[in-house]
Subunit: 158 residues, 4 copies
């Protein structure tokens, strides 16, 4: 079970604390956490996952594994810049978006394009011609996000 | 001047007719048209551009240039699948999104991520935490779309 | 007909003069020339092709079309760094390697991997376990290189 | 410490047995093994690494982690086809090439292009204008290959 956590490389304390709890719960559920390996939401979620004994994978944009945050277990430098966002999506069974900027939006869009579920915490919303869409599953707490993610992975296996 | 036209590989006649007019106007303004090279919106826009003597570039997802629609002047097979969407965005100075599905949304998101303007005709809208955003410049006609695009390119050069 | 010309972004005058003649002959044969769009062999070949009225496509490693040499008709910035080498190969029907460093070797290797013919002028040679291989078709003059390329494209169409 | 093992997805028993020993020695030295995650050399090396309690990462060409061989600890589907070869190289500190076809040659070429050491067992050789090059460090046994790899990683850290 691989759960992707996506969000910006800089964030305020409230968002960091949400991300940290998401990471911790992913690890407690025995899933591997995938992210972009950098700071902000990625670092907070990685710290949470490692604090609960989990494994964290960082798919890095640059050339060097030294750019990974200190809570990454396995770092994969790609040298692809933002094109690495697509690999984060491919490598995740389900994604949890926490707040996030345009980079996160590219990941949400690829996930929907590939038919992978996206769970959202304080993140982007989409509409078409003024009509709101429910493509992103909006939740309000880390607990809801991770239990929804686990449920979707299990449903998908049956 | 390179204008990207993005939209789905299948579309209804109304959208096709809008795309065709957009392509024609791009060519009349002397700009090169970039697209994904496939059917639907891409084919209609390419047909319009060629009818006005323009040059059309198709950045293809697959391995063979035979998958290009018949109105592509220069075809670039990439073999990268949907990762080629990012190249369409990189290669365009400004993008016009016409309707579009999730693939188009990946292109819109990359364009915003890279700071490239996106002009929208009957396409996606974005919100954050329920608040509508104006990141995509919404217009109502092909004429408005292309004149806005030309204006942005000229502003950017000054 | 799309012929790729691959080689280093810096080269001596002798190699530049060979590349220029290759470009010129490609254009005289009515083929489009594809290259990495930068200096050295790429610039010399582009200059030759343009001098004979040809079309040159530059698949650029960076973000900006301003990095293209001045003889590129159509520039495609990819932002992919050396991963763009693969697109040069995908987009070419046959490749002519002129001298070249490790970057050129990545292109030769991808071409052979994809079953595309590689014609070599003063370039890499390959062996396996000490046994020389003839995978790269070695020629000695620009004229031989381009006539071999045209022949291969025509054979492939029949 | 991340050591990449590259080679073909099909191989004979002799090569498989060499690959298996390479994998085992990588694990005994406490390094993480990176590979393309498929059959042949990749599977044999992964089996060896896991038998010695090591961690194996498979950077997959396709969309699904089900294509990974059964000895992969962490699978990363990329959907990039052979473009994923470049990521295997980026993610490795040093590479060991075992026999191998054109795909392996693309990896060797990228490694040399990025300045990463390549150690070769029964693999490709390179020459320029008929002059043999020593760019690939040729060794004759798995033991030599892995101790050379460990030495290079340690030198690089000092």
């Amino acid at each position: 079970m691989y759960i992707g956590v996506i969000g910006q490389s800089q964030c305020n304390e409230e968002i960091a604390s949400i991300a940290e709890e998401v990471g911790e719960l992913i690890a407690r559920n025995g899933a591997v956490m995938i992210c972009g390996g950098m700071g902000g939401v990625m670092e907070a979620a990685s710290r949470g996952a490692r604090s609960a004994g989990g494994v964290t994978i960082g798919i890095l944009p640059g050339f060097s594994r030294e750019e990974a945050n200190s809570y990454i277990s396995i770092s994969i430098p790609t040298g692809l810049g933002p094109a690495r966002n697509l690999i984060i999506v491919r490598a995740s069974d389900v994604l949890i978006a926490i707040s996030g900027g345009y980079g996160t939006l590219t990941e949400i869009a690829f996930a929907l394009h590939f038919g992978k579920p996206v769970i959202g915490l304080y993140t982007w919303g989409l509409n078409r011609e003024g009509k709101d869409l429910q493509d992103i599953m909006i939740v309000r707490t880390p607990r809801e996000a991770v239990s929804k993610a686990m449920e979707l992975i299990k449903d998908n296996r049956q």
